[in-house]
């Protein structure tokens, strides 16, 4: 199909229009139509994977139409090995949240479903835009449905959380806007590929790097601009948390891959240490913060921040592993092979996808409990295994994956990043591997307090186990987590060519060569 990406973007958005038209009064119909649309979109997106050419790093499924002639802006779509897995993650997660909200959401059902469908289309747009202004339009407009999801269907403190979420990310991205405009004025084009080849001095690169950094670091989120995330997660409805953690955070990581590294390679290289230190703070310090949380959703939110630290660590560690020689060949700095540089980047990608599954699963697990007892406090529970054995099985599996148990997807990404980081600097790897202890501590301690032990709250003993709908969602996620943990090879193959290309771009200096 020539316009597969356009269909993936616009089908959910237009479908959302029809769901809105069905209206909140015909909730059951709205549910089925939304579910149908999301399944169709997912099935279509599988074609991206099947027809994907793994041998090339160039863009595939390209569509290019002139859009705003005044600024030379094109409606230019395409995917490579970095964006394609994220698009499939998006279409996959959207089905989950629509099914997860089936009975739980009783208020404005059609609006709820439509918001998620619109968001799906916009986020696919983010991952497939090849024109930076198109990217920015999708990037910013994806805030709107999320704002409404948190604000309308959220918890007690939803107004504060939604507005904080919006303003935080909005502030981050406007600086990106200014730097995109700045580069447009230099090159006369908003095409991302033009920006890759645009020569920039070190000073220009530094400013642009930090502008991008603000936009992407807020989204990831990195320490110290992470404070919106716990609020947003705690207040958001389960579906909102799932999309937020599984996909929206990935937009930040994706930004580093797509923009920061190739456009400002020299600045990325010289500020890499700062980013690595911030990532390590996120991994270790935020891990400790997660340990003391009393609210399950907050705990998982902090654990998300900690895990996303691996993404930025894996990306920026490469500058301590490799550098570009004067003849354009890759030279290892620390005696490591080039494979370890790939390890870092591919580990970061795997970590993003794996975290998409695990965090979605964890938030769904909390959602299942919350739907029954309307409490997110750990102390409310205890001994859940007695009344919900099937559910506990899934919960423990996902908790293990969150703690990075080998055999689950959580292990693969983190292990690859740690291996990569080890080549860069022993202490990076040492601190990063602390997460295996801290992560296990906060996750398993939560599991112990919620699922094992004596039943202290009489209401817990009356809990009914998961129904077939919940079972289905969790089972699919469990399969995904185990598949990524046992056999991640297909995903790595898909991204390899693009990662090789990206590494080269990131290490090619844009500065004039001094002789």
């Amino acid at each position: 199909m020539d316009s597969l990406l356009s269909i993936l973007i616009w089908l959910p958005i237009l479908g959302a229009g029809s769901v809105l038209f069905i209206g909140n009064n015909r909730a059951q119909l709205a549910r089925w139509v939304s579910a149908g649309i999301s399944v169709i979109v997912f099935v279509l997106s599988i074609n991206l994977f099947l027809d994907f050419d793994t041998s090339t790093s160039s863009m595939q499924f390209v569509e290019k139409v002139s859009w705003i002639t005044q600024f030379n802006i094109f409606y230019h779509l395409g995917v490579d090995g970095i964006s394609m897995p994220l698009i499939i993650l998006t279409t996959f997660s959207t089905i989950l949240v629509i099914v997860a909200g089936w009975e739980v959401i009783k208020n404005r059902v059609a609006d709820y479903m439509a918001a998620f469908l619109i968001m799906e289309g916009l986020i696919i747009g983010v991952f497939s835009s090849m024109d930076s202004m198109l990217f920015y339009v999708f990037w910013e407009s994806s805030l709107i449905p999320m704002l409404l999801i948190i604000g309308v269907w959220g918890g007690q403190n939803r107004v504060y959380a939604s507005i904080k979420f919006f303003l935080y990310t909005f502030l981050g991205s406007v600086f990106m806007l200014v730097s995109l405009i700045y580069m447009y004025n230099l090159s006369g084009s908003f095409a991302i590929s033009e920006m890759y080849t645009l020569p920039l001095t070190m000073a220009q690169q530094s400013w642009i790097f930090w502008a991008f950094f603000l936009a992407f670091a807020v989204k990831v989120p990195m320490f110290p601009v992470h404070t919106w995330l716990p609020d947003a997660h705690v207040q958001a409805p389960t579906g909102g948390s799932v999309i937020l953690a599984a996909i929206m955070l990935k937009m930040g990581g994706y930004g580093f891959f797509r923009f920061s590294l190739p456009i400002t390679p020299d600045a990325s290289s010289s500020f890499a240490t700062v980013v690595i230190v911030l990532s390590l703070i996120a991994i270790v310090y935020i891990g400790f913060v997660a340990l003391v949380q009393k609210d399950m959703k907050k705990l998982i939110a902090y654990s998300s921040i900690s895990h996303m630290g691996f993404v930025t660590l894996g990306v920026f560690a490469l500058f301590s592993i490799m550098k570009m020689g004067s003849n354009g060949e890759l030279i290892s700095i620390s005696g490591a092979s080039i494979e370890s540089a790939y390890l870092g980047l591919e580990g970061a990608m795997i970590q993003m996808i794996s975290h998409g599954f695990i965090s979605a699963a964890m938030f769904l697990v909390v959602g299942v409990l919350y739907d029954r007892l309307h409490s997110r406090e750990i102390s409310t529970y205890g001994g859940v295994v007695n009344s919900m054995p099937k559910f506990t099985g899934f919960a423990v599996l996902f908790a293990m994956a969150n703690a990075g148990l080998p055999g689950t997807s959580g292990f693969v990404g983190e292990f690859m990043v740690i291996l990569g980081a080890l080549q860069a600097n022993f202490w990076f790897a040492f601190l990063a591997s602390m997460t295996l202890i801290i992560g296990a501590a906060y996750t398993l301690w939560m599991v112990k307090r919620v699922f094992w032990g004596e039943i202290t709250n009489p209401e817990v003993s009356t809990l009914s186990d998961i129904n077939s709908r919940e079972f289905g969602i969790l089972a699919i996620l469990a399969i995904a987590v185990l598949w990524m943990g046992l056999y991640p090879q297909p995903v790595i193959e898909v991204m390899h060519a693009s990662i090789v290309n990206l590494l080269e771009q990131a290490l090619t200096t844009k500065l004039p060569v001094l002789l």
Partner: protein, 482 residues
């Protein structure tokens, strides 16, 4: 010396204005002599007259002429501006009628006065002499003062009218003072002669001084009319005090005329002194964006909040003129048109909530709208996000265009300042969204507006999205005017 000759054929180029004047007189007479039952037709006649005038103005696009001894110019800028003025005015009057009916203010003078002020705007847009410009400005302003006072039993409206009148008179005085300086030193009222005088290389330092002196007063006068900080004091009070329909009118169409005044005086006339007035505008722009964004944060009255929001939008418009390049001016014009489209929809959304005996002017009046009327809540959501500059709505592209021009001319810091305040201002636009969608209040809201208003408001809201998705045509149009 001016050469007064008169050619009947020249009248054709002023046909829209002449037709409108004729229509005003006719409708006024019609209104006097017909029975009470027929008086409701005044509104339809007004709309018809505006529609025909707009059509006439549209037909003149492409014609270029300077007539009436050089006092009146017809160019693409003038004709296009007139078409937009008339088009936006027609939309505004559709909304107006519902408001006036709901509050029993429906008197036919209202429409006559509105047409009169539109006539003034059209004269301003085509003014090519200091006198014509001033004449147009006064026709417009005097009609507007009276329009506010049509709600004669409301103390707040009388106060607003008086305030607007006094401050407007001061502004006119300042403008006139500046004009007299310019006239005194250049010896001409004609814009092109002033322009050639200002660009003459033989200008002595004394002459330059007086020219700059006059220029400062012109800038102040224009800033007053636009409501740029620090000449903005009248804006919030007048916006709040006036009947909402007049506030809507004030905040929309006259801005086009004021921009035309700016273009005629400062770009066509004193373009040579661009670097002087650009510096002044830079200060006005930054202050307007900052004060407009910050003060709006604490408002509870939505008209007052929108007044401050207008001030900050005007700041963005002025940024376009700071750049001093054709594309920058085009960006400013695009911004004004986009702003008016949004502002009309914003006030339309307020007016749609009005019903017999219920004046909606508090932000809290929007509570529960998303439940009782999801469609109009959605329109207001779109308007607010667009005003905040969130894509894919038109407000984003207008900001993009301005910022691109500002950055291209090397004012990166200015652009960064502007976007930071844009984020701050997003907070109060979000407050409206919060009120409509997040507040869990079960309040009955009745949308009792007539069908024509609902349809026009819907089209207005959809346009904000559609023009946002396809902004190319409007952008090119705006730049082609210069």
């Amino acid at each position: 010396m001016m050469n007064f000759n008169f050619n009947v054929a020249e009248l054709l180029f002023a046909l829209p204005e002449l037709f409108l004047l004729f229509a005003i007189s006719l409708i006024l007479l019609f209104d006097l002599f017909v029975s009470q039952r027929l008086k409701q037709f005044t509104y339809y006649l007004t709309q018809l007259a505006l529609l025909i005038t707009g059509f006439l103005a549209f037909n003149l696009i492409g014609e270029n002429a300077t007539i009436f001894s050089g006092t009146f110019v017809l160019d693409s800028l003038g004709s296009t501006f007139k078409v937009f003025i008339l088009g936006f005015a027609i939309i505004a009057l559709v909304y107006t009628r519902h408001y006036l009916k709901a509050h029993e203010l429906l008197r036919n003078e209202y429409f006559i006065l509105a047409m009169m002020s539109i006539l003034g705007m059209m004269v301003m847009v085509s003014g090519h002499s200091l006198l014509t410009l001033y004449l147009g400005l006064e026709i417009m302003s005097l009609s507007l003062y009276a329009l506010i006072a049509t709600a004669r039993d409301r103390a707040s409206a009388i106060e607003a009218a008086l305030k607007y009148f006094v401050l407007g008179a001061i502004a006119s005085g300042l403008l006139l003072y500046g004009m007299s300086m310019i006239y005194g030193i250049s010896g001409s009222l004609d814009i092109s002669q002033i322009s050639s005088f200002a660009s003459a290389s033989t200008l002595g330092s004394q002459q330059t001084l007086i020219l700059n002196f006059g220029l400062v007063f012109l800038v102040i006068g224009i800033a007053f009319k636009l409501g740029a900080v620090p000449f903005h004091m009248w804006v919030p009070d007048v916006y709040q005090g006036s009947p909402t329909s007049v506030t809507m009118f004030l905040s929309t169409v006259p801005k086009i005329a004021a921009i035309a005044l700016l273009i005629r005086l400062l770009i066509d006339g004193l373009g040579e002194l661009q670097h002087y007035w650009a510096d002044l505008f830079m200060i006005l722009a930054v202050l307007s964006i900052a004060i407009g964004s910050l003060v709006a944060l604490t408002q509870t009255n939505i008209k007052r909040m929108l007044a401050y929001s207008t001030i900050s939008h005007i700041g963005f418009v002025l940024l376009g003129f700071v750049t001093g390049v054709v594309d920058g001016y085009g960006a400013a014009v695009f911004y004004v048109l986009a702003y008016i489209l949004m502002s009309l929809a914003a006030f339309g959304s307020i007016i749609v909530l009005n019903r017999k005996g219920f004046e909606a002017d508090q932000i809290s009046d929007f509570q529960g709208l998303s439940k009782h009327s999801p469609w109009f809540a959605l329109i207001m959501l779109v308007v607010m996000l667009s005003m905040a500059g969130v894509p894919p709505f038109i407000g984003f592209y207008s900001k993009l265009f301005i910022l691109q021009q500002v950055v291209a001319e090397g004012y990166v810091i200015l652009a960064i300042t502007a976007v930071i305040f844009a984020v701050i201002s997003a907070y109060y636009y979000l407050q409206i969204i919060k009120t409509m969608y997040f507040d869990d209040v079960d309040k009955e809201i009745l949308v009792s507006a007539p069908l024509d208003m609902k349809v026009v408001l819907s089209i207005n809201g959809i346009l904000i999205l559609v023009v946002g998705l396809m902004p190319s045509f409007w952008m090119e149009l705006s730049v082609s005017l210069f």
